[in-house]
């Protein structure tokens, strides 16, 4: 399915006055893909979404849709579905009327509209709420109406701008599952803006990471998490342990631990906490550390450690009765293939 490139973003840039919101972005979105645009606030991810949707014009570059230049097409010509931040439901219309609105615009027959609305209401699980106004609905229900309205006219692409940011954590998890299900069932291309790393990792087939208006990396969740292209990506996606490298010796700073990989030009070695463990006798790498704190988390404990050089490390330990007190001298180990230089 994910073979043909549906949307191509070619050297897209966007300036607001002198402020550069996006600089020279290139990426391709395949048909049926679930792409998350991930980044901190102000990173340009929402700007790119509005450009793809046609709600704003880029300052430079081109946008292609199925090979056609759609750069100058207005939003209505592109016909993508959009779920706005805050949902942007019509407050004076009922749930059913909200969903029917785009269909009426398309001048479909009454019977067709009624069928489709019923189908959409069913799909997002809002049966029985058809006649309610949006203000009478909970946040999660409003979210569903927005989804149903955006999907009612079967758009080829669905754009979602931080759709879950206003929901509490439990509801968010539930909505994420439903969104995954929708994506699986419909096969529509989803482009999803979020600042929540876990959300992006859990939902997407691909993630594009943005910072300061620049694309940092694009790849599958596994690729961006396991092999971050740079330090920003590494730090932004979950917790990471960073150890300074001594450029001249190719060793970890202030140790004699030699690294098997070429690390020329990089300043830090990065290891995810879940790849770090307390060293056994036969481990090749053994880094002496001091325990600063142990946080009990129920199913596991989090150890906060400090190297002799004063760098902070973290790792998770399955709970065992070992009584480790802050100040204990320990050794940590990791497999060389799980570490990467940034």
């Amino acid at each position: 399915m994910a073979s043909t490139t549906q949307i191509e973003v070619c050297s897209i840039g966007k300036k607001y006055g002198k402020f550069k919101a996006l600089g020279d972005i290139n990426l391709g979105i395949a048909e049926g893909e679930f792409l998350s645009l991930l980044g901190p606030s102000g990173s340009g991810k929402t700007t790119l979404l509005t450009l793809i949707g046609g709600y704003d014009a880029p300052s430079s570059g081109r946008l292609l849709f199925d090979g056609q230049d759609m750069t100058n097409w207005p939003a209505k010509q592109r016909g993508f579905g959009m779920v706005f931040q805050g949902y942007a439901l019509f407050p004076h219309l009922t749930v059913a009327e909200n969903i029917a609105f785009p269909l009426k615009v398309q001048k479909r027959s009454k019977a067709q509209i009624a069928d489709r609305v019923a189908q959409m209401v069913e799909m997002v699980g809002l049966s029985g709420h058809e006649a309610k106004k949006p203000t009478a609905l909970s946040g999660g229900q409003q979210q569903r109406v927005a989804l149903a309205r955006a999907l009612a006219y079967e758009p080829k692409v669905l754009l979602l701008d931080e759709p879950f940011s206003a929901l509490d954590k439990n509801l968010r998890g539930q909505m994420q599952e439903e969104l995954r299900r929708l994506h699986r069932d419909l096969g529509t291309t989803f482009v999803f803006v979020t600042h929540d790393q876990e959300e992006a990792l859990a939902l997407s087939t691909h993630i594009a990471i943005f910072n300061h208006g620049e694309l940092q990396q694009i790849g599958t969740p596994e690729e961006v998490y396991e092999r971050p292209a740079n330090r920003f990506t590494a730090e932004f996606l979950g917790d990471i342990n960073l150890l300074s490298l001594d450029g001249s010796t190719g060793c970890l700073a202030e140790t004699a631990i030699e690294l098997p990989k070429t690390i020329a030009g990089q300043s830090h070695l990065a290891i995810r906490p879940e790849h770090m463990r307390l060293a056994a006798d036969d481990d090749a790498i053994q880094l002496p550390v001091r325990l600063r704190d142990r946080v009990y988390l129920g199913s596991k404990s989090r150890l906060l450690l400090e190297t002799s050089g004063g760098e902070e490390l973290m790792l998770y330990l399955d709970n065992d009765p070992t009584d480790m007190r802050p100040g204990s001298e320990l050794r940590v180990a990791w497999d060389a293939r799980d570490s990467f230089a940034v």
């Binding site: 939003a75 016909g79 931040q85 942007a88 019509f90 785009p102």
Partner: protein, 269 residues
């Protein structure tokens, strides 16, 4: 709570002395002068001349309300959603009338609309008409004058509603392919319904009690309720009738307010 009641006391006292007492006096007058009982009310509500005045008042006020709210809606759109220059000019045009007394405004309209007024002179000079158009001393002039006075009052409730419209909702409608016309009629206008209802109420209630503007611009040819009350007090003294009419007017206004607030209170919130 007690401290609150104590603090509000002076206001209650003032309203009681300046409003409630005179009103009770009027009530008493309406039931006693010249005949005790309901005679005055019976007369007011059965006399064909009086009834025609009431009917004319309701009709003119309804027309004025529609004209004012529609004009105010357009002005408010320019004020709230126009470009910066348009905005400041519109704001000026909304504020200036507040500084001009109702009397000068009425005279202003007379010099515009009268038989030898500006408008007739221009139209004649342009060769568009031969004889002067009768534009004063009739209902047309009254509607113009009253609407001119009331438009700014309709602007404020409308402005609140129009400012509260979520821009993203309009963007969403546009993205779904809705035309500008459809967005206006089916999205924007309904989203400002609370403002339209508020403005309509305010203007209608205000207009029912109008005196100076209809008296001057109507030139005695289109007497409204307030002018009739004036006549019954100062020209052909029938104070009991005037009092009965005032009470009816007041109950009508109060009734309309209560009804509309009941009906639209939900929306207006």
């Amino acid at each position: 709570m007690r401290a609150f009641l104590f603090l509000i006391c002076p206001l209650l006292l003032f309203l009681g002395c300046s409003y409630l007492l005179p009103f009770l006096g009027i009530m008493q007058l309406s039931f006693s002068d010249p005949d005790p009982g309901l005679a005055q009310y019976r007369h007011v509500l059965s006399d064909p001349l009086t009834l025609s005045v009431i009917w004319r008042t309701l009709r003119i006020c309804a027309i004025v309300t529609v004209v004012s709210v529609i004009a105010a809606y357009i002005i408010t759109l320019l004020w709230v959603r126009g470009r910066p220059l348009v905005r400041s000019l519109t704001e000026l045009c909304i504020m200036i009338p507040f500084w001009i007394s109702v009397l000068s405004r009425a005279f202003g309209w007379m010099s515009m609309l009268s038989n030898r007024g500006l408008l007739n002179t221009w139209l004649k000079d342009l060769g568009l008409i031969d004889a002067s158009l009768q534009m004063t001393r009739n209902e047309f002039a009254v509607v113009i004058g009253m609407s001119h006075y009331l438009i700014p009052f309709a602007v404020f409730p409308l402005a609140t509603a129009i400012r509260n419209v979520d821009e993203r909702v309009l963007t969403a409608a546009d993205g779904m392919g809705a035309s500008r016309l459809r967005i206006f009629w089916q999205v924007f206008l309904p989203m400002t319904a609370s403002g339209i209802i508020g403005a309509t109420l305010l203007v209608f209630v205000f207009s029912i009690g109008f005196f100076v503007t209809p008296a001057l611009l109507g030139g005695g040819q289109s007497v409204l309720i307030a002018e009739l009350i004036y006549l019954w007090i100062f020209q052909i003294p029938q104070w009991g009738m005037a009092a009965a009419m005032s009470v009816i007017l007041m109950i009508a206004v109060g009734g309309i307010l209560v009804l509309l607030m009941r009906r639209y209170g939900e929306v207006a919130k």
